[in-house]
């Protein structure tokens, strides 16, 4: 007897992430990388033409873009550190300590870079 099976395959459309808040936040998290491309381009400009770089970063639109890139990098750092314990098979107490250390190193390093750039 011929089979009467006719499995129905539901296609995944390109907007699959829009309907679920978890997926939307994932796209936001991954979208932070776009700003990192922007910052990398700025650094390249600084390497090859420091004078144009100095003029460009004074532009208010560029300032806004850089501020958005700063917020994006903060969000990326937060989500990255929150997810770090998943990749480590260690007891809960050790994982909590590792995340605290990551934040401590980030804050100290950030403050150091800020001090060096100001003075």
């Amino acid at each position: 007897m011929a089979t009467k099976r006719k499995p129905y395959v539901r296609e995944v459309d390109c907007c699959w992430w829009k309907g679920n808040p978890y997926y939307r936040f994932y796209m936001l998290r991954e979208g932070c990388s776009v700003f990192m491309v922007w910052v990398s381009l700025l650094f390249l400009l600084f390497l090859f033409s420091p004078s144009s770089f100095a003029t460009l970063i004074k532009n208010p639109i560029i300032c806004l873009l850089n501020f958005a890139a700063f917020l994006a990098s903060l969000l990326h750092t937060k989500t990255w550190y929150d997810l770090t314990p998943k990749a480590l098979n260690l007891p809960e107490a050790k994982l909590a300590a590792i995340v605290k250390w990551l934040w401590a190193v980030t804050i100290v390093f950030g403050a150091l870079v800020l001090l060096l750039s100001l003075f």
């Binding site: 009467k4 006719k6 499995p7 129905y8 995944v12 699959w16 978890y22 997926y23 990749a87 098979n89």
Partner: protein, 255 residues
């Protein structure tokens, strides 16, 4: 019966012999605070539509048979209560799997991937006469969380990467493989890594993380995937370091 509380459920129906595509059908069900979605489906099958198809068995979140989408989120019907959906709900079959009929999906891919990752102890030559193969609590703790998986498939419905690429081995299969990789009694890690390291293995995961969110047993498949990526990277580094040595051995064999 007149003062019984009623709730509207929209249930996806699909009869392959009659329908060209699935459609949502509305049903009213009586409910109280203890009514689960599985109870509601069983009520409909017993009293309203005897041809309604769905999978179920244990009714207590152990067998992993009754996975469905409730308002777009993967849930076990037996573990989800109607009281939390006072405005009604939509019940659909698990997404990312082909629909066979009504709420029943084809899990063939999923089962094949579990088999491919060999979730059993490999390479342990102990005999029953050797006595029990004991483990310390610390050795057990390394894999205990991952051994909670009940193969319900909710993580596959939560995984957009599996939806976009059904060849991806997926969260549960890799979690089960990783559970044995971490077991001190097992010696099959290198064998499993050969499958995990492939294009459709661990590296197809982009760490969306929703799989761990929907897991009804808190097996944390996203963690297993990330740990497997670390194992895979180390295995790659080891293979590069050993490459020269292996070449010398193979040349030596040829001559």
């Amino acid at each position: 019966m007149a003062d019984e509380k009623k709730l509207l459920l929209k249930i996806q129906r699909y009869n392959p012999e009659r329908d060209s595509a699935p459609y949502l059908a509305p049903y009213e069900i009586p409910w109280d605070d203890q009514t689960s979605f599985l109870d509601a489906l069983q009520y409909l099958k017993d009293n309203v539509c005897p041809d309604l198809s769905f999978r179920s068995s244990c009714r207590m979140a152990i067998c992993g048979s009754c996975g469905v989408m409730i308002d777009g989120a993967p849930k076990l019907a037996c573990k989800t209560f109607v009281r939390n959906y006072p405005d009604g709900a939509t019940v659909e079959p698990l997404v990312n799997f082909p629909v066979e009929r009504d709420l029943v999906v084809d899990l063939t891919h999923f089962l094949e991937y579990i088999e491919a990752l060999k979730p059993y102890v490999i390479g342990n030559a102990r005999k029953p006469a050797d006595g029990p193969n004991t483990q310390t609590p610390a050795q057990l703790a390394r894999y205990h969380k991952f051994s909670m998986c009940i193969n319900c498939g909710l993580c596959y419905a939560a995984c957009p990467q599996f939806g976009l690429n059904p060849a991806f081995l997926g969260p549960a299969a890799i979690t089960l493989g990783h559970r044995y990789n971490l077991d001190s009694r097992d010696h099959g890690k290198n064998e499993r890594l050969q499958t995990m390291n492939t294009e459709n293995g661990v590296w197809s995961c982009t760490f969306v993380g929703y799989c761990s969110e929907v897991c009804p047993k808190h097996a944390d498949p996203a963690a297993a995937l990330q740990q497997c990526k670390a194992d895979s990277a180390l295995s790659f580094a080891a293979s590069v370091l050993n490459c020269k040595k292996n070449k010398e051995v193979s040349h030596g064999n040829k001559t």
